[in-house]
């Protein structure tokens, strides 16, 4: 856990703000391109945000947050309540989206706020002098953060897809790439799927295909769980995730992404109806395991085997 101060807030677009975070005492830990931190919100929630600054510079961490109307409050708090000078508590950086060191060509594909991890990646790749392209789909004037900066630093390496003007065509994007190519995508699930499907269709090994989803729990209906070993009963509110409810009750479950992709929070259960919302578990694992960071109860109460 690290205590930081909000050193500055910049409005990048009407819906995206950048926050610069500095250590309150001591130095911030270094991070590799693709890392994220969890920001701990006053209500006990934690949201994961990519570090978009230069990995060679750990004097401050930079994150960018898009205001989500339907968010459970994380982005609303950061956008409307948090001020420059305020303190925040964050977790140490972890990297679930690293660059593949042996790649001969890196294809970075972003949509909207999915640009954030690639800000760090593209700086790192420029420094290493590696072959890469950044493909950026955005909506002009709202989800086009850092566009000017990227045009300047990347020149012809930047490929733009403004909404309504040019469509991002996953098939064309992956076609005719040299043998050592790797693709990285970040954005909505539909983008990640389109890339993964095209990669498979063109015979790419899944090991060349890397992605980071917008990892955040979605609200749902309230439900209840019971903990087998302690016999405790917990209520999970509509706006709360099961992981958050467990944490609020003092039960710590390992977690990194809090969005159903990393697999860290896998928890066994014995009975109950589960709405699985993760992208990690295989179908046959779902009968006995669930991912509390995103998945919810949807019927008979869940009995967790913890």
């Amino acid at each position: 856990m690290i205590d930081v101060r909000v050193a500055a807030i910049h409005e990048l677009t009407p819906v995206i703000r950048e926050y610069r975070l500095q250590a309150i005492d001591g130095a911030l830990p270094g991070f590799s391109a693709g890392s994220h931190v969890q920001v701990h919100l006053p209500d006990g929630r934690r949201n994961a945000y990519s570090l978009l600054g230069d990995p060679a510079d750990n004097s401050e961490y930079r994150i960018a947050v898009r205001h989500q109307d339907n968010s459970r409050g994380g982005s609303r708090y950061l956008h409307q309540v948090l001020c420059s000078g305020d303190r925040l508590r964050i977790s140490a950086p972890a990297n679930l989206f690293p660059l593949y060191s042996k790649a001969r060509q890196h294809l970075l594909v972003a949509a909207g706020i999915g640009i954030t991890p690639f800000m760090a990646h593209s700086r790192e790749l420029l420094r290493r002098g590696e072959d890469f392209e950044l493909h950026y789909a955005y909506r002009s004037g709202s989800s086009d953060a850092y566009l000017g900066e990227l045009r300047q630093s990347l020149g012809p390496r930047l490929h733009e897809y403004p909404a309504g003007i040019r469509r991002l065509d996953a098939r064309a994007l992956l076609k005719d790439r040299p043998l050592g190519a790797h693709v990285y995508s970040c954005g909505p699930q539909s983008l990640l799927l389109a890339i993964a499907e095209q990669a498979a269709a063109q015979g790419w090994s899944p090991r060349r295909v890397h992605s980071e989803a917008f990892a955040a729990a979605e609200p749902g209906l309230p439900f209840s769980v019971e903990l087998q070993r302690s016999g405790r009963q917990l209520q999970v509110g509509a706006e709360q995730s099961l992981l958050e409810a467990l944490e609020a009750a003092g039960v710590e479950i390992p977690n990194l992404c809090r969005g159903g992709v990393c697999g860290q929070c896998q928890t066994p259960y014995l009975k109950g109806d589960v709405e699985h919302r993760d992208h990690f578990l295989a179908a046959n694992e779902r009968a006995t395991s669930l991912m509390p960071c995103v998945s919810r109860g949807c019927g008979s109460p869940i009995l967790l085997d913890i």
Binding site: K102, A103, R104, L174, D176, R177, P178, L179, G180, A181, Q202, G203, W204, S205, P206, R207, R208
Partner: protein, 161 residues
């Protein structure tokens, strides 16, 4: 795979025929332009050069099949991976034949049969071939079969001068 007396690394299965075949023996069922045959090259080094040149121009999505005995396959596999192919994009079809054994006592590799033991051609130690396979060397490890009689195979049980 079960007919191998020694353990072999396992690979994920993949579908469909490969786009490029590198083989010890010509496969009449494969288009000539899509196979590199050992016999067509003056040496293994020349064959490896030809493969490297093909991979340099190849596009992502290419599936490669390497077919032959282990001594043939492993150096090619290392080359293909260095060129950017992933392990699951390379199909290995092992044929019985020679494999390589690395002697841990003199740190030299040598061709060997599938037999469980042999005498190191370089230092003369009687080696037992372990199941341990080094991807880096493309060879199985050979270690002294009997520490009390390291040179059991030599006429008077003495090391080479």
């Amino acid at each position: 795979m079960t007919d191998h007396p020694f353990s072999v690394p396992r690979y994920e299965p993949q579908a469909g025929p490969a786009d490029l075949l590198v083989t010890q023996y010509r496969d009449a069922g494969y288009p000539a332009a899509q196979q590199l045959v050992q016999g067509d090259y003056a040496s293994n080094a020349a064959l490896q050069q030809a493969l490297a040149a093909r991979l340099e121009l190849a596009r992502c999505g290419l599936r490669l099949e390497l077919r032959g005995d282990e001594a043939f396959i492993w150096p090619l596999q290392a080359l293909a991976q260095a060129a950017g192919l992933q392990g699951d994009e390379i199909l290995l079809s092992r044929l019985p034949g020679s494999r390589r054994v690395f002697c841990v006592h003199c740190a030299q590799c040598q061709p060997a049969s599938a037999a469980e033991s042999l005498t190191c051609a370089h230092c003369g130690v009687h080696l037992e071939v372990r199941r341990h396979f080094s991807q880096r060397l493309g060879a199985y490890l050979g270690v002294c079969a009997d520490a009390d009689l390291p040179y059991a195979d030599l006429p008077n049980g003495e090391p080479r001068p």
